[in-house]
């Protein structure tokens, strides 16, 4: 039976159908979840998609973090449920305390959409298992508030514990230490600013490099079952 991966839709989620498409392309079943529900429907992992939840009129992710479904996700994530937050999803993960730090306005103050080179730094998270550390990939980045910030201690800690998942090659937004993505202590929750779900087919994206995030989780879940 293939893995079941939930994709949550918040009001203002925009890349939710893309995330679901990528989940399917990675070999899992996509289960659509609604922000106002609380039942995770027994999914094996969850994707928080990109977009502008609630318009992102306050701080990105600040309102979505309080959605009923996020309550369920936060509890389950603490118990080991793998969660991938992409862009707005990354912001929601930081706001809800599942990941440290915060994302602020890009240093050049513009929204930026471009094909971005990224270096995978940690290949031992639930979502990057099929990568090799040091591998360079190209996936789209598109955000207005993608500048990762945290205090020095946190940054040092992330680095020391190899919890920086990916770094920009050519920083697009002023993220500290070129951070494009990070993971939690148990390496199950990953937040990433650029969009792997928009790089699953060279027809509609710059590459198919992003697909590996979605095959990785299938690999990880299969290993769990096997273990």
């Amino acid at each position: 039976m293939s893995a079941r991966i939930g994709v949550i839709t918040f009001p203002g989620s925009l890349d939710d159908s893309d995330a679901a498409r990528a989940v399917t392309a990675g070999g899992a079943d996509a289960v659509r979840l609604w922000h106002a529900d609380t039942d995770l429907q027994g999914v094996d992992a969850v994707v928080l998609p990109g977009g502008f939840s609630y318009g992102d009129y306050l701080r990105c992710g600040a309102i979505a973090r309080f959605a009923p479904m996020m309550g369920a996700v936060i509890d389950a994530a603490r118990d080991g449920l793998p969660v991938l937050g992409i862009c707005n999803g990354f912001q929601i993960l930081c706001e809800s305390g599942l990941l440290p730090g915060a994302l602020i306005r890009n240093n050049h103050l513009h929204f930026i959409c471009r094909d971005q080179k990224v270096r995978i730094a940690a290949d031992d998270t639930a979502w990057t298992a099929d990568f090799a550390a040091g591998q360079e990939i190209v996936i789209p980045v598109k955000n207005g508030e993608g500048g990762y910030v945290a205090d020095e201690r946190t940054l040092d800690m992330l680095q020391a514990e190899n919890r920086i998942v990916a770094r920009y090659v050519g920083n697009p937004n002023g993220s500290l230490r070129d951070i494009a993505g990070i993971t939690n202590e148990s390496r199950t929750v990953v937040g990433i600013m650029p969009h792997p779900e928009h790089a699953i087919d060279p027809l509609t994206g710059p590459t198919a490099d992003g697909l590996v995030f979605f095959t990785s989780i299938v690999t990880t879940l299969a290993a769990r079952v096997g273990a």
Binding site: Y54, G55, Y57, L58, A62, I63, F66
Partner: protein, 81 residues
């Protein structure tokens, strides 16, 4: 050292989607009787030396040209120190 605080708010008759979003969230999180929320900007400007009349005049002018768009926003200046 002088500190000037410029406050910029959308005019009352202008739609404020940000304030509306905050109002909705506060209400959902249990705060009762929220009649209205408006969201604005606040600029804290530190100037070297003291604030002479020339600089104050220029700053007042720039507040209405650069920091606020008077077509949709009201603004006010406050000298703090």
């Amino acid at each position: 050292m002088a500190r000037i605080v410029v406050t910029v708010m959308l005019k009352p008759e202008i739609l404020d989607p940000q304030g509306t979003a905050v109002r909705g969230a506060l209400t959902r999180l249990g705060l009762t009787g929220v009649a209205d929320v408006r969201q604005g900007k606040r600029f804290v400007i530190d100037l070297e030396g003291s604030l002479d009349a020339d600089r104050e005049a220029l700053l007042t002018k720039l507040a209405g040209e650069l920091l606020a768009n008077p077509v949709i926003e009201d603004y006010s200046l406050q000298v703090e120190a």
